[in-house]
């Protein structure tokens, strides 16, 4: 199994979630994060004190999937989250050794 972690633009969440459920994905976990990258942040100015905010709000979406789904899921996310503008984000894939569903104790692919 793999854990797919996507950093996306917040307002793209609905599109991505839809793309995933269209693929039959029924579970995922979302976090609010801040990203630093090529996309510029913004300046804030308070009574003459100027602060450059480098970290821009992003969503981090994690989906654990069977190996055979990795490519389609990555593709689906990449497509749904794309705006062709800098800052669209990244997808990270890493190995997942074990998954357990707490409620039932099921393990491995059955737990996804």
């Amino acid at each position: 199994m793999k854990m797919i972690t996507a950093i996306i633009k917040p307002f793209k969440l609905d599109d991505v979630r839809e793309a995933l459920t269209d693929l039959g994905i029924t579970g995922m976990t979302l976090e609010e994060v801040k990203g630093f990258g090529r996309q510029k942040g913004h300046t804030e100015l308070y009574r003459g004190a100027e602060y450059v905010i480098d970290f821009v709000p992003k969503f981090k979406l994690q989906v654990a999937v069977n190996n055979n789904l990795v490519d389609v899921v990555c593709e689906a996310i990449a497509k749904a989250a794309n705006t062709t503008k800098i800052g669209d984000g990244k997808i990270f894939v890493s190995e997942l050794e074990q998954v357990i569903r707490i409620r039932t104790g099921e393990q491995g692919e059955a737990a996804l």
């Binding site: 804030e44 100015l45 308070y46 009574r47 602060y51 905010i53």
Partner: protein, 437 residues
């Protein structure tokens, strides 16, 4: 009896034109009482929740409660001190009052009963109304040393300061003291409130030093909505502050309300314009700061000028305080954390000066309501205003500095570096501002 006489003297000296018949006002005026009851509530409202929200929104969230705590505790402690001895230092109890402080006949309001009058309102009401001024003035200083001062040190300093700075200066100007004698004009506290608080703030910022990381580290307001809420409350409450200072529900109060409103609006728009032009975007923190500048600046003048002059005063206030703020922060790099001096101090000085001009009755649409005391020309009045400014400024600076040094010796002014990093809320009060999930 009952602190009535000294008030009379102030009224006589400062704004005799407002009360043509006060000499015979020995009966209670229900109408004036109704308005001053309300005004007292409004001025309290300025400090809690008004000012405390305005200030608390501007600090980082780890210190939000410390600011609220300071303002709230000052409200309590200054009230009690004022009741015990502050009032009588400022206003005394006897007909004749000395030039520097009152007498001690009104310790614990001893010389006032439920039926005692001060002018045509209950004596205890006048004392309570003034109490709300004695509360907000030390609370204003809080902005200068926010996010780093020890709570205990703050209490000790403020207590001493109320009795040794605020109360005497209040006597000079409103208690029949030497400045009142000179016809010094300060209707609602340009010098008594704003200059004293702001000078103490500046001195405190210098003595206690910058916050860790200032000016490099971002120290953004943690809750601008809180600050804007507080700003709105301040504006509303300021009607009580300025129009209440007429001590009557009459044309003078109405005019004070109007000029207060216009100066607030003009100060706001001026600051907004400065920001828009200089930085490319207008900000809500900018406009509310301009509002405070406009309000602070009109305060000494609110009983003496007309609305067109208020427009000018407000525009000057917004513009000059804007540049003063930049100068203090960017050039002098003084961490007067919430900009007390450049807004209240510069505004208070400006207003105390400008009233000397715009009180004149022969300025066409910019005419005011007349000079103070025996002053017969703008030149004479401005000179008196300058004397008042210099006196209150220097007296406050010296005594505040001494008090701060003393408190530093006794208790230490500042929390440790680690504590400052962790935030005062947890460290000093074992609480957190927010636990929102």
């Amino acid at each position: 009896m009952l602190g009535l006489s000294n008030l009379r003297r102030v009224l006589l000296a400062v704004s005799f034109f407002l009360f043509p018949s006060f000499g015979v006002a020995d009966e209670l005026s229900g109408a004036n009482t109704a308005w001053i009851l309300t005004a007292t509530a409004l001025v309290l409202f300025m400090t809690i929740p008004g000012l405390s929200l305005f200030y608390a929104g501007l600090v980082r969230s780890k210190n939000v409660l410390s600011v609220l705590m300071q303002c709230f505790t000052l409200t309590c402690l200054m009230s009690i001190l004022w009741f015990v001895v502050g009032y009588t230092i400022a206003f005394g109890s006897a007909e004749e009052q000395g030039p520097f402080i009152g007498d001690f006949g009104n310790v614990l309001f001893a010389a006032m009963g439920v039926d005692s009058l001060n002018g045509d309102i209950p004596a205890v009401l006048f004392a309570a109304f003034q109490m709300t001024f004695a509360v907000i003035t030390p609370a204003l200083i809080v902005g200068a040393f926010a996010e780093r001062m020890k709570f205990s040190a703050m209490l000790l300093f403020s207590s001493a300061w109320l009795l040794l700075v605020y109360s005497p200066v209040c006597h000079w100007v409103w208690g029949g003291g030497w400045l009142a004698e000179m016809g010094f004009l300060d209707f609602a506290g340009g010098s008594v409130v704003h200059i004293t608080a702001a000078v103490a703030a500046l001195v405190a910022a210098l003595v206690i030093g910058n916050r860790r990381g200032f000016p490099g580290t971002p120290m953004m307001p943690h809750n601008m909505t809180m600050t804007v809420t507080g700003a709105g409350m301040l504006w509303v409450g300021w009607f009580g502050f300025n129009a209440g200072s007429a001590l009557a529900a009459n044309g003078s109060a109405a005019m004070a309300l109007l000029v207060t409103h216009i100066s607030a609006a003009a100060g706001s728009l001026a600051w907004m314009a400065c920001e828009w032009i200089r930085h490319g975007k207008p900000s809500v923190l900018g406009i509310v700061t301009g509002m405070v500048a406009g309000l602070g600046t009109i305060t000494p003048a609110s009983g003496s000028v007309g609305p067109a002059a208020a427009l000018v005063i407000g525009l000057c206030a917004g513009t000059i305080c804007f540049f003063a703020t930049l100068f203090l922060k960017q050039r002098l790099k003084i961490d007067d954390s919430l900009d007390v001096f450049p807004v209240h101090g510069v505004g208070g000085i400006l207003g105390t000066l400008l009233v000397g001009v715009f009180c004149a009755t022969d300025l066409g649409v910019f005419s005011g309501l007349g000079f103070g005391g025996d002053n017969g020309s703008i030149g004479a009045q401005v000179q008196v205003q300058l004397i008042g400014i210099v006196a209150t400024f220097s007296y406050t600076a010296v005594v505040s500095w001494l008090l701060l040094k003393l408190v530093d010796k006794v208790l230490g002014l500042r929390v440790s570096e680690d504590q400052e990093t962790e935030g005062l809320d947890i460290v000093l009060h074992e609480e957190r501002g927010y636990d929102i999930r």
